[in-house]
Amino acid sequence: MSRPASLELQAVRKVFFPGTANEVVALNGIDLEVPVGQFVSIIGSNGSGKSTLLNTIAGMYPVSSGCVLLDGVDVTRQREFQRSRLIGRVFQDPTAGTAPSMTIEENLAISFMRERRSGLRLGVTNRRREFMRTHLEPLGMGLEHRLKAQVNKLSGGQRQAMSLLMATESEPSILLLDEHTAALDPKVAATIMDLTAKMVSERGLTTLMVTHNMELALRYGERLIMMHEGRVVLDLGPTEKEALQVSDLIDMFHKVAGEAFAVDRLLLE
């Protein structure tokens, strides 16, 4: 088991298609320190660099400059699969976090071996099945009785709950949630969000949650970060956050961004 770690970004820049007409500066010098066990919500409009930030931390692509440190260790040069042993991720698409044609127990077995090299032992054993049941039961979805069901037979909410469970199984150093409730219907989204909050607080996970939904950002997490054009433009702690309303947040955005605020999904949700 690894354990929750601190995260530090130092002057991270990410430029896509550098030197071409399509050049995009997605991250423009991000400095961020997240202490162990902190739950951070990240908001921002489309193209502000939120998702790029998570993908950069996960090592999906190399940074243009700057460093990423986990527990003070520089992991900038580590490849994605190496870093993944320490990082749990849940994506917006509920189909992204599980292997669809494999069974529930096979998927969970994969998450059990995240940190060590997989060997030629059987992946699913009776002992592991017991362990799986005890982990599936708290989800309250009855999945503990359907271990041999193929994951593509599950609903979006059930699959996202599985993804969340698999991402947190070995207590990752960092948990990265990329709009992980955005594709679900409101009731299911609320269930998944409650599960998320429960798992994060129970295990004291260092968590970064990207969301379009300002209300979610205000309700969950101890810290709120707003991004705009590849920069962190607002960084609020728990006390400042508590006093805030969605409308305050929109006003702040206007002030900080200094331009007309695009009426997009932010307001609709």
Partner: protein
Amino acid sequence: MEAIITSGLEQGLLYCFMVLGVYITFRVLDFPDLTVDGSLPLGAAVTAAMISGGQSPWTATLAGVAAGLCAGFVTGILHLLLGLGSSGSAAANYGAKLLAGILTMTGLYTVNLRVMGKSNTPLLGLDGVFEQIEDLFGVAMSGWNLIIALVALAVIVKYVIDWFLRTEFGLCLRATGDNEQMIRAMGTNTAFTRIVGLGIANALVALTGALVAQQQGFADVGMGIGTIVAGLAGVIMGEVLFGERSVSWVLFSVIGGSIVYRLLIAVSLRLGIAPTDLKLLTAVLVVIALSIPTVRKKVVRI
């Protein structure tokens, strides 16, 4: 009639290892691997060359299988190198997979000629594994005896693959073909799992090559042409006819598909279809089988 059935069964069982290999690449790894057209004759060439060089047929067969394993590794490594330069889009990735297989297949043509030193190596009067089994047990390795021996081998190989796909590494390998992004996020080096998977698949294909060479009494550089299409035909027929309710089951289905396909060929030959027309017939069969789901959807919509 019995002759058609026994020859169909024999061929179906000899080629079922190749079909299992194609199943692993196409279905498990989601990798359309064209290496097989080269790795089947590679298995045959290495085995035949070693037997005619005086080696034990068992060693020769093992060497043939090992050669196939290496051919698969080469394709996996080429895919990794080609993929690094691609844009990472699904289409580019698919292209890299096809190209990697084609490159290895093309290179193997030369390798096979070099291994044999000529385009055909006869094994007349030399002992293969089947003759050695005859000597050992005192039964003729032909007809139903041969079929029973091949069934036994097919069942053993089936259960070994079945077990392997349920090990921790096997689960990672299946997830590599099922949801690569997710298994990478779980800390698996998918380049490695893919290379190993391709190696195992091509080892199975080479096993068919080694056995076929010993059964028909020669290895020929052209014997691999159309392997991929015949393999796909076996996989698809197996899935359609016998179902795919679980991995364990589908492995049996695929063996069944291989047998049905070879029985069809045996019947076609008996009906007077020229052997030269078989490849076109197979290609048409695969096209029909592949288009069934699309056609079905269209019909439902109308």
